[in-house]
Symmetry: C2
Amino acid sequence: MSDMRFQLLETAAALYAERGYEAVSMRDIAKVVGVTQANLYYHFKDKADLIQATLAHVFELRGLSLQGWIAEHPGDQLDAFVRWFVTALMTDRVFARLLYRELIDGDGERIAMLSRTVLQLPFQVITDAVANGRSAQDAKMVAISYVGFVVGQVLILPLSPGLTGQDDGSENADAVATRLLGLMRSANVEA
Amino acid sequence: MSDMRFQLLETAAALYAERGYEAVSMRDIAKVVGVTQANLYYHFKDKADLIQATLAHVFELRGLSLQGWIAEHPGDQLDAFVRWFVTALMTDRVFARLLYRELIDGDGERIAMLSRTVLQLPFQVITDAVANGRSAQDAKMVAISYVGFVVGQVLILPLSPGLTGQDDGSENADAVATRLLGLMRSANVEA
DNA sequence: CTACTTGTTGAACGACCGTTAAGTGAGCTA
DNA sequence: TAGCTCACTTAACGGTCGTTCAACAAGTAG
């Protein structure tokens, strides 16, 4: 991939993640990169194409990161996945925000791409990890639930200060992951 | 509240929920209601004011609904809350989508309003429900987690068909609530 | 009947949007 | 060196955006 295309995708990802697709103009992206807006149309067909390419760029990179992580932690796969996912969502702002935006606004095609690139593997990992003593159908249900737990847990973190009264917005990713794993494991013992 | 103002808020809520704030113009709302765009500026100071009023309108109504529901089900408060919340998120598209949008893009002030109007009460309910044998701090943590579970569970429902391979997007709200409650209860036995 | 308030319209403002066509210059190739 | 391709710019197009303001009809009070 050319250097300019890479730069455009990275910049677009950062701006789209922060403000949303509609609120970011082609001129905004061009200005940050330091080129003219017309140049974007040399690299991408139109705005929809740039958005699609940006999402593919971000999600494929993150999918690869997860693949590597899972391969390096052959022991407890559920543990490995949850820690990777929580850490990614809490420290990789671009990934997290684009993921949430897609979960809300993505059409069928973009949701499918998201499933393929980042969620397919963790889903399989969890399904296997919770399979013992369950029907395949049940295991899939539980896996879906677990993905939802992580996603939801991180999504409501900004609410924590307002609800608990304490300004604990700086909670550690490892602490959140450990808490979630505890809940999952204790829930795992029964059907 | 005047009839016109009510109509404008309801229409704005539906459009904002569906497409997002930036993608909905003042003209879009005016056209659906059947008035001119200038009329919106008689009832609201500017677009930011309309957005803020729309969110207050939606969330205060839903907060009242929850209050009534909780009062009518004095038995198992955790059960009552989870069923209300899951049903609301799965059947009230406007509420659900505006809530998710705010969780992602809401600034401090709007997040605070959201906490006050809809989330304060359920948070208190859950905290009380899980309090036995826990420190107040722990109970709050668990309550946050439970709210996150519900939010996350519903958010990833559209992914279910793509991941499990089956087209089970039409899952029942009661079934989801029951599954979640089962997981919460089995997790509840340990610290 | 007149004066005043309330709710709404018609028309326009400048700014910004996505997109396109033509042009430019550097570098490669024959 | 002539021709060609690639990466990019300049400049503009029509359209839509949020917003404003004078005008206007309907109702109400004196």
